[in-house]
């Protein structure tokens, strides 16, 4: 009969209306600024740059390869490559970004920069309270604001960060072993041969090799 | 002279002139509504409460909406293109209007109107109207009912869409070209009207 469905629906909403006063557990919303839900594991918002160690500028993983800049669909990443080099986590001298800006007013959170980064240097952040009163300058994040320590990344994505860290540690060990072997081989060769034969430059990597003074 | 009457009359006449002379048809309709509302106010001022409200209900509520619907349903380019030039028919029209107005005004001017004997405004209650409609005026009421029914059915039948619009002869008068009955032009006319 006409109207039975209406009455059923009205009864349901009446139940909700009364029930929401009786049992607060029915309420689905959270009183946001006071209480917050923990962000989900795979939540993402805007990219940030990971650095190792204590010094944000020294430990930056980014080598300014500019792949992310090229891949970025809305073209919101701006990188200037440095003229000089500095050692990376292994100790290999690498270029570093003289400037690294992301315009998060343009960024569409697609995560493509993260996908393409061969150095695991750029990762997605979960912060979302980014509103400012300035549309232009405040939403253009610079390298200093973008750089965040590895510990922060470990907090955000524990599994991924752990995996990356172990890989890096292995690579570092390998590189150290190789460097040691190289050094030994070199020493041996120097000892054996009177005329030492130079190794090719990029492979050569003794641990502290300050090539040039850093200007940041 | 009664000030309220003058205000109402001037507004009504002005909006009537606007309704008859404006270019935009919707503006005409809106001015017409104002005229009807002014006439309803005149009725109210003449102590004909029921009639005034009926006027408001029928004209503002129904006729105006009908006219607005008709205007929007028959929107065509030549509504805007209506050029105004002085043709013989315009002159004759104005002549007729002037003649009617002058003769009526002259007749009114020369009429001796007796002063009303009862100064008290006649109060006509809705109940009284209803009783009279059911006694003295019952035949007119029934005739009106029949008329309205007939008008309603007639309006529906006239305005009902024909089963197949392609069957009706569409006349392409937009260009002022006369109707050609060869099948090709008919086809194009139908297509153009879609």
């Amino acid at each position: 009969m006409l109207g039975t469905g209406l009455i059923k629906g009205m009864a349901q909403t009446a139940k909700n209306f009364v029930g929401s006063y009786q049992g607060p557990e029915r309420l689905v919303t959270v009183q946001y600024p006071e209480e917050r839900l923990a962000p989900k594991e795979n939540a993402r918002n805007f990219p940030f740059l990971v650095f190792d160690g204590d010094d944000a500028q020294k430990g930056l993983r980014c080598v300014a390869c500019q792949i992310c800049e090229k891949e970025c669909p809305p073209k919101c990443i701006y990188i200037n490559k440095s003229k000089d080099k500095k050692p990376d986590y292994i100790g290999k001298p690498q270029f570093y970004p003289a400037t690294f800006d992301i315009d998060i007013s343009v960024c569409m959170s697609c995560q493509i920069c993260v996908e393409v980064c061969p150095f695991d240097a750029i990762k997605m952040d979960k912060v979302f309270e980014l509103s400012t009163t300035d549309r232009f300058e405040a939403l253009l994040l610079h390298k200093t604001e973008l750089a965040k320590p590895n510990e922060y990344f470990q907090e955000l994505h524990p599994t991924e960060a752990a995996e990356i860290d172990t890989r890096f540690a292995e690579e570092k060990l390998k590189a150290e072993a190789k460097a040691k072997a190289d050094a030994e081989a070199k020493a041996k060769a120097a000892a054996i041969a009177a005329a030492p034969k130079p190794e090719p430059a990029p492979v050569d990597g003794s641990i502290p090799t300050p090539v040039a003074p850093k200007t940041i | 002279m009664d000030l309220a009457f003058i205000i109402i009359a001037v507004l009504t006449l002005a909006s009537a002139v606007a309704a008859m002379s404006l270019r935009n048809l919707v503006h005409c309709a809106l001015c017409m509504v104002m005229t009807f509302a002014g006439i309803a106010l005149t009725f109210l001022q003449l102590n004909a409460e029921f009639v005034g409200l009926a006027q408001l209900l029928v004209y503002v509520g129904a006729v105006a909406i009908l006219i607005v619907f008709a205007i929007l349903l028959t929107r065509s380019e030549d509504a805007k293109k209506e050029v105004r030039f002085v043709s013989s028919s315009t002159v004759v029209g104005f002549g007729v209007v002037a003649l009617v107005a002058v003769s009526l005004l002259a007749a009114i001017q020369h009429t001796q109107i007796l002063p009303p004997q009862s100064v008290v405004a006649p109060h006509v209650s809705v109940k009284r109207i209803g009783e009279q409609l059911m006694t003295n005026y019952v035949l007119p009421l029934e005739v009106i009912g029949l008329l309205l029914t007939a008008a309603m059915i007639g309006a529906v039948v006239i305005a009902m869409r024909e089963p197949d619009p392609a069957d009706s002869v569409d006349v392409q008068q937009r260009n002022g070209s006369p109707l050609k009955l060869d099948p090709d032009s008919k086809k194009t006319a139908v297509v153009a009207n879609e």
């Binding site: 006409l2 909403t13 029915r26 | 209900l57 607005v68």
Partner: protein, 397 residues
């Protein structure tokens, strides 16, 4: 004491007016009543907006607005300030004058309609002999304002919304008026205070003699409320201003103060039509039981008005929007026949009053209810015809 409280506003007005010279008193009295009505309903508009959001929130298991002030009670003030300080944008292509006039044309008839309603004993601002006719006469002007708003915006969504609104309002005005006819037949008057008076008194000294407690009154009340929901463009009949389909229809191009005016006029229209429902069917300012007569009459009126508005909000929180063809079918194939049948039933009720044998009262009640229930059943079934059969989902549920 109760009498004084009951006539509080009437005596207050008389006291205030008595300071003025004799000649200015009637005018001042009218102005005072009108400003009181406008003030009261502006306040009520503010309260209703916040209550509506709160109740809708609770219906959807949310809290509703609770940020501005204690329990969010200052939300209407915040909304008002926001509306008034916003930029008033008029589209470039719009017909400026008509665009400006539309909200004004809407609010004037609504305010006039509010002046008709008897809010309490001796509390009718304008007591017209043909009060209800006046109500519908000025109410018909709202359609025009909706058209003006939609047409002058020069926006297709606005025009579509306006045309939908007019078609809907015309279709539902008929059941709205016809469902009041039964009340007018029984009361024998078009004057609203007299209709309220006709519903005073108690059957067996305890049951109220309201129209809603008769078969024709109940049917008329339901029909009236459905038609009133459609007339005031509220859910589930909110197609003309469907936000999700035609971006609020004729309101699309309105902003700032004009939008606020439209919004307020819509709520005032809701109050007016609810007040009319209270007057016609729920006994106006009469108390439901004789032992509750010490409560002032205006308190009863506003309590009933609040109940009806709560019902509107409840319906809005429950029912989804109708489709346009469903809307028209419902008006012409269900509401209109039902309201015509209701008039016949009222006549039956009226003429069966002469029977005085034992149980005649109960018998005519049952008979009239039956005459209404049978067509209701069949018309309702006819309305459901052509509807697709209930689908059985393989994986859902």
């Amino acid at each position: 004491m109760t009498g004084q409280l009951d006539q509080l506003f009437v005596s207050l007005k008389q006291w205030l007016v008595s300071f003025l010279p004799q000649a200015a008193q009637p005018m001042a009295g009218i102005l005072l009543s009108i400003s009181a009505i406008i003030g009261a309903f502006a306040t009520m508009f503010a309260i209703t907006t916040i209550m509506e959001r709160k109740i809708l929130g609770r219906i959807q298991n949310r809290l509703g607005p609770n940020r501005v002030g204690p329990f969010g009670l200052l939300q209407p003030a915040a909304d008002g300030i926001k509306m008034l300080t916003k930029e008033d944008i008029v589209p470039f292509a719009a017909d400026k004058l008509v665009h400006f006039l539309a909200p004004v044309v809407l609010i004037i008839p609504v305010a006039l309609a509010l002046a008709m309603i008897p809010y309490g004993r001796n509390m009718t601002a304008v007591d017209l002999d043909a009060g209800i006719l006046f109500f519908f006469a000025v109410g018909s002007a709202t359609e025009l304002s909706v058209f003006m708003a939609g047409w002058s915006s020069q926006n297709k969504y606005s025009l579509v919304g306006a045309m939908r609104a007019i078609a809907q309002m015309i279709s539902y005005e008929m059941p709205l008026v016809l469902s009041t006819v039964s009340v007018l037949m029984m009361a024998g008057t078009l004057s609203l205070p007299l209709i309220v008076q006709a519903q005073s008194g108690y059957i067996y000294e305890i049951l109220p003699r309201w129209n809603v407690f008769t078969p024709w009154g109940l049917a008329g009340f339901v029909l009236f409320m459905i038609a009133a929901t459609a007339e005031s463009n509220r859910a589930p009949f909110d197609l003309p201003e469907a936000e999700s389909e035609i971006i609020a229809g004729y309101l699309t191009e309105y902003s700032g103060f004009k939008y606020a005016l439209f919004f307020m006029a819509e709520y005032w229209g809701l109050f007016a039509v609810s007040g009319l429902a209270v007057t016609l069917f729920l006994g106006g300012w009469n108390a439901p039981f004789p032992f509750l007569q010490w409560v002032p009459s205006w308190a009863w009126f506003f309590a009933k008005l609040g109940t009806i508005i709560f019902g509107f909000i409840w319906v809005r929180g429950t029912l989804p929007r109708l489709r346009l063809d469903q809307l028209m079918n419902f008006a012409w194939k269900f509401l209109l026949p039902m309201s015509l049948i209701n008039i016949v039933v009222t006549a039956m009720w009226h003429f069966s009053r002469v029977f005085q044998f034992v149980g005649a009262r109960e018998m005519r009640w049952v008979l009239c209810a039956l005459v209404l229930a049978i067509p209701y059943f069949f018309l309702g079934r006819a309305l459901g015809e052509g509807r697709p059969a209930k689908r059985n989902y393989k994986f859902a549920e």
